[in-house]
Subunit: 159 residues, 2 copies
């Protein structure tokens, strides 16, 4: 199924509506690891803050180090449903970049995150110094169990 | 948060109740990739069928080849919620093994999958020849935003 390219418009609609993605990266032994992340789309990229959600001590810095060391990662967005006709996934092959406040797209990224996640009214968007991870995607693959699955999801959850 | 070990009983309850995990593995260029998978727990391992859900042609075999080539993988189970106090994840560092029908735990695995997924009444559990991937976990890490998050989820979704 779903061999044809995903329309850019559909991809962006999903990226804007889906609150969580799973990031596959390499650990320090070059073994694959996975993590759920929040992200927002702005200026043609995806942005992830190292935010103030409680974390295991050192976890945030460890993650940054692993991304800096091995920036080729994958993000998967998917929908699980009891009705397997509704299943779909989108995978983005990405390059990760650690970004500080002087990036030209910084303000747009912060605005997109604040807009997508009202939770940042209560949770600090940054833990210590302001750092974002910028993901640019270099390849998109996708699958849906039925031709309508992705669009049905967008009708229900799209913004 | 959550630096203390996860109780085996809690881990098993989550594994039995959570219908989807995300698998981080290595692609043929040794880059990380991620995929949502279904799985069931039996005989101290997790089992994933190469099932009859519609797939991109060749996708199943490609996945098996990549797992055989690089069997060290990670599974992440997590819960996203609008209330970030409810967030949690569990990550299992696993070794993947391709298994055919003669494995001593084969029947237990099939029974666990059929029990967890009534969808297999309609969708064939196997695409072509019967093959399962067996994941044994060698390490567990976990995080929860608040001490109650994981148990709250189990109260709502546990079986």
């Amino acid at each position: 199924m779903a061999a044809k390219p995903l329309a850019e418009r559909t991809l962006c609609a999903v990226l804007d509506a889906m609150p969580v993605a799973r990031l596959a990266l390499k650990d320090l032994d070059d073994e694959p690891e996975a993590l759920p992340i929040v992200f927002a789309r702005a200026a043609g990229a995806l942005w992830m803050p190292i935010d103030g959600k409680p974390k295991r001590s050192g976890a945030s810095l460890g993650r940054l180090g692993r991304l800096e060391r091995a920036p080729k990662v994958m993000l998967v967005l998917d929908h699980y449903a009891e009705d397997w006709a509704d299943l779909w996934w989108i995978r983005l092959r990405c390059t990760a970049q650690i970004v500080f406040g002087k990036h030209p797209d910084w303000d747009a990224a912060i605005e997109a995150l604040a807009d997508k996640y009202p939770q940042y009214n209560d949770v600090p968007m940054f833990r210590d110094e302001p750092i974002l991870v910028r993901y640019t995607w270099t390849g998109v693959s996708w699958w849906s169990a039925t031709p309508e699955a992705l669009h049905r999801w967008l009708e229900e959850f799209g913004r």
